[in-house]
C-alpha cells in the first residue's frame, strides 16, 4: 500500500492532477461558506469585468460568476461521482454475470452491451434526459446508462480470465455458492482495473453533464458550469469572462481526473509497474 503511494507520487503528472482535484474538492466544500447567497441571486450590475467588486465578474443578469463556478463544482462532482458509481454497479453486474456463467447468458448480455456501445453516448444521453425531463436524477441516469458498457466488458474479460484459475474451482470445491464466488473471490481480484477505468469515467461523466447543461438539458434550478457557459455564449465578444472561467474549470477538473486515473492505472496495473 505504502509502496503504491510512493509510486503514485513519483508520477509528477498524477500528482499535479491530484492537487487540482483537491482544489476542486475545497471549492465543493467551501462554496456555501464563501458565497452564502444563492448563486442565482442578482448581486450587482450586469457584465462587470473580472477584478472589480467581483473576482470573476458578473454575467448578463448581474450574477456573480465566481459564485456560479463554486456552486457548479458541487453539481459536476455530485453528478460525475454518482453517475460513475451507478455505471460501475451496472457494469459489474452485467459483466460479472456474463463472465461467470458464460454460454447463452453471456451471448445475450454482451450483445446488449455492444448495442449500447454503438449508439453515440452523447446523443443517447440527450434522448434519455429529454424523455425523463431535465433534473439532476435524470442526468445521473442518462450518464450512467451511456457509461456502463466499458466497465461491463472489462469485468467480463477479467472474470473469464480468472474463471480458469484453480482457486475458483477450489472455492467451489469447498462448498462456496456462485454469489459468494462472484462477490467475495472474483470481484476483489479484478478491483484494480475497475478502479483505474472507473476513475477515468468520472472525467467523461463531468464532460457529458456540462454538455447537457449547455444544451439546456440540465436541472434549471441547479447551478452548473455548462449552464453558465451557455448563458455567456451569446455575449462572448463583449464579456469573454462569463464563458471562459467555467470553461477553464471544466478543463482543469477533467484533466485532473484523467491524470489521477492514469496514475492509478499505472500503480494498479502490474504490467505497467516497472516502466
Amino acid at each position: 500500500m505504502r509502496a503504491g503511494f510512493a509510486r503514485f507520487a513519483r508520477n509528477r503528472l498524477a500528482l499535479f492532477g491530484a492537487v487540482v482535484l483537491l482544489l476542486v474538492l475545497v471549492l465543493v466544500v467551501s462554496a456555501p461558506l464563501a458565497y452564502p447567497n444563492n448563486p442565482f441571486q442578482l448581486v450587482g450590475k450586469p457584465l462587470q469585468p473580472p477584478g472589480g467588486a467581483f473576482l470573476l465578474g458578473t454575467d448578463t443578469l448581474g450574477r456573480d460568476v465566481a459564485a456560479g463556478i463554486a456552486y457548479g463544482s458541487r453539481t459536476s462532482m455530485l453528478i460525475g461521482l454518482s453517475a460513475t458509481l451507478a455505471a460501475i454497479g451496472i457494469g459489474i453486474l452485467v459483466g460479472g454475470i456474463a463472465g461467470y456463467y458464460r454460454g447463452r447468458v453471456e451471448l445475450v448480455l454482451m450483445r446488449v452491451t455492444e448495442f449500447f456501445q454503438t449508439i453515440p453516448a452523447f446523443v443517447l444521453a440527450i434522448l434519455i434526459v429529454a424523455v425523463l425531463s431535465p433534473s439532476v436524477p435524470s442526468e445521473i441516469i442518462a450518464i450512467a446508462a451511456v457509461s456502463w458498457p466499458g466497465i461491463a466488458r472489462l469485468v467480463r474479460g477479467e472474470f473469464v480470465a480468472l474463471g480458469g484459475r484453480e482457486f475458483v474451482l477450489a472455492c467451489a470445491g469447498l462448498g462456496a455458492s456462485d454469489l459468494r464466488i462472484i462477490f467475495r473471490h472474483l470481484l476483489p481480484n479484478c478491483l484494480p482495473p475497475i478502479i483505474a477505468v472507473g476513475s477515468l469515467l468520472i472525467g467523461t461523466a463531468i464532460l457529458i453533464e456540462a454538455g447537457l447543461a449547455f444544451l439546456g438539458l440540465g436541472d434549471p434550478n441547479v447551478m452548473s458550469w455548462g449552464l453558465i457557459i451557455s448563458a455567456g455564449r451569446a455575449v462572448l465578444r463583449q464579456a469573454w469572462w462569463i464563458a471562459t472561467f467555467p470553461g477553464i474549470a471544466i478543463l482543469l477538473t477533467v484533466l485532473g481526473v484523467n491524470l489521477v486515473g492514469d496514475g492509478l492505472g499505472e500503480v494498479l496495473n502490474p504490467r505497467l509497474r516497472n516502466r
Binding site: 458464460r102 454460454g103 484459475r165 484453480e166 482457486f167 474451482l169 477450489a170 472455492c171 467451489a172 470445491g173 469447498l174 462448498g175 462456496a176 455458492s177 459468494r180 467475495r184 473471490h185 476483489p188 481480484n189
Partner: protein
C-alpha cells in the same frame, strides 16, 4: 488393508463408482475423457489412481464433486459417497457435500488459494460457512489446523497472504483448508507434483499421517509410481479413460499383469543396473475424440493380437482382490498353472 473388489466386503464402502463415463462436448468434437470406470474405496483406505496426462484421472476426481463445467459435460453412471447419490444432489446439498463430506487438494497451491485474502481468512470463511462457527472459534480452529499440518509459527502464518508463503507451506495451508470441516473423503489431485523433491516427501508423509489419524478415505491421483507406492493401499492404473488394472499396492508393484502397467514399471527408475537402458512405451495415448474400437492400449501393446482390435477386454480377476482388463490374462494364468 484387505482391499477387495468382491461385493461380500464386510465394511460398507465409503465411495462406490459404477460405470462412470464423462464426455465433454464442444462444437468441434466430443471428447470421451472417462469411459466406464468402476471402483470403490472403503473408509480409511487410500486408493491411488495412476496414469499419464490425459488418462482421465483428474476428470474422474472432479466428476466425483461435480466440479466440471455443467453445460459442456455429460456424466453418466453412478457415484455414491457415504450413501449419497452425488449425481442426483440438488445445488444446496451439493454445496454441503463439497468441503463438508468431501474435500479436494489441488496440484498447484499458488493458484488454488485466492491471492487477495490471507490463508487464515480463507479457512475461517469455510469454517463459518459449513460449521456456523463464530469468528473467534473459527480462528482458534484454523490455528489448530495449522499446528496439525505442522506449519511453523502458525499464529503469524494465518495472517500471511499466499504469495508470502513457500510452496511447501502453501500446500500445507491448502491441506489445512481441505481438512477444516473434517471430511470423510479426501480427493488429492497430484498434490505433490508442483513441489521440490524434498518438500514432496514431507508433504506425502504428512498426508499419510493425517489420513491415518483422521481415518479419512483418500483418493490420490498421480502419474508418479514412486509417490503411489509411498502412500497407497491400493492402486488403480488408468489408461485412456479406463481402469486397466487394480489391486493392492505391493501386489501390483511386485507382479504387474497388464502390459501397460508393466511398461510403466519398466520406464521408471527403480534400482535397475546403471547401464541398463530405460524402456519407454512406444507410441502415444489414443485420441480421445476418436477412440479405437478394441483395447485402447492395443496400438502400443507389445503383445497385441488381432482380437485386441475388436473389443475391449473383459474384466478378469487373477486373485480375489485384483482386477485386470487384458485378453491374455486368463490364458496366461491357465498356461502357468
Amino acid at each position: 488393508m484387505d482391499g477387495t473388489l468382491m461385493p461380500q466386503a464386510d465394511i460398507a464402502p465409503l465411495v462406490e463408482i459404477e460405470d462412470l463415463t464423462v464426455r465433454f462436448t464442444s462444437r468441434e468434437a466430443t471428447v470421451s475423457a472417462v469411459n466406464g470406470v468402476s471402483f470403490s474405496v472403503k473408509p480409511g483406505e487410500v486408493l491411488c489412481i495412476l496414469g499419464e496426462s490425459g488418462s482421465g484421472k483428474s476428470v474422474t476426481l472432479r466428476a466425483m464433486m461435480r466440479l466440471l463445467p455443467e453445460k459442456r459435460t455429460t456424466i453418466t453412471g453412478r457415484i455414491t459417497i457415504a450413501g449419497q447419490d452425488v449425481l442426483g444432489l440438488n445445488a444446496r446439498d451439493l454445496r454441503a457435500l463439497r468441503g463438508g463430506l468431501v474435500s479436494m487438494i489441488f496440484q498447484e497451491p499458488m493458484t488454488a488459494l485466492d491471492p487477495v485474502y490471507t490463508v487464515g481468512e480463507q479457512i475461517i470463511e469455510t469454517l463459518r460457512k459449513h460449521r456456523n462457527m463464530s469468528r473467534e472459534g473459527a480462528r482458534a480452529r484454523a490455528l489448530d489446523l495449522f499446528e496439525l499440518v505442522k506449519i511453523p509459527s502458525p499464529e503469524r502464518r494465518l495472517d500471511s497472504y499466499p504469495h508470502e508463503l513457500s510452496g511447501g507451506l502453501r500446500q500445507r495451508a491448502m491441506i489445512a483448508m481441505a481438512l477444516s470441516c473434517g471430511p470423510r473423503l479426501l480427493l488429492a489431485d497430484e498434490p505433490t507434483t508442483a513441489l521440490d523433491a524434498t518438500v514432496q516427501i514431507q508433504v506425502l508423509i504428512l498426508l499419510r499421517r493425517l489420513q491415518r489419524e483422521l481415518g479419512m478415505g483418500t483418493i490420490f491421483v498421480t502419474h508418479d509410481l514412486g509417490v503411489a507406492s509411498e502412500i497407497a493401499d491400493r492402486i488403480a492404473v488408468m489408461y485412456a479413460g479406463r481402469i486397466v488394472e487394480e489391486g493392492p499396492v505391493a501386489d501390483i508393484l511386485a507382479n504387474p499383469r497388464h502390459p501397460y502397467t508393466q511398461g510403466l514399471m519398466a520406464s521408471t527408475v527403480h534400482g535397475q543396473h546403471r547401464d541398463a537402458d530405460i524402456q519407454a512405451i512406444p507410441g502415444s495415448p489414443p485420441d480421445l475424440r476418436r477412440m479405437p474400437a478394441g483395447c485402447s492400449f492395443g496400438p502400443r501393446c507389445p503383445t497385441s493380437q488381432p482380437r485386441c482390435r475388436e473389443a475391449f477386454p473383459p474384466i478378469s480377476h487373477p486373485s480375489a482382490d485384483r482386477m485386470v482388463r487384458c485378453f491374455r490374462e486368463g490364458e496366461e494364468a491357465k498356461a502357468s498353472f
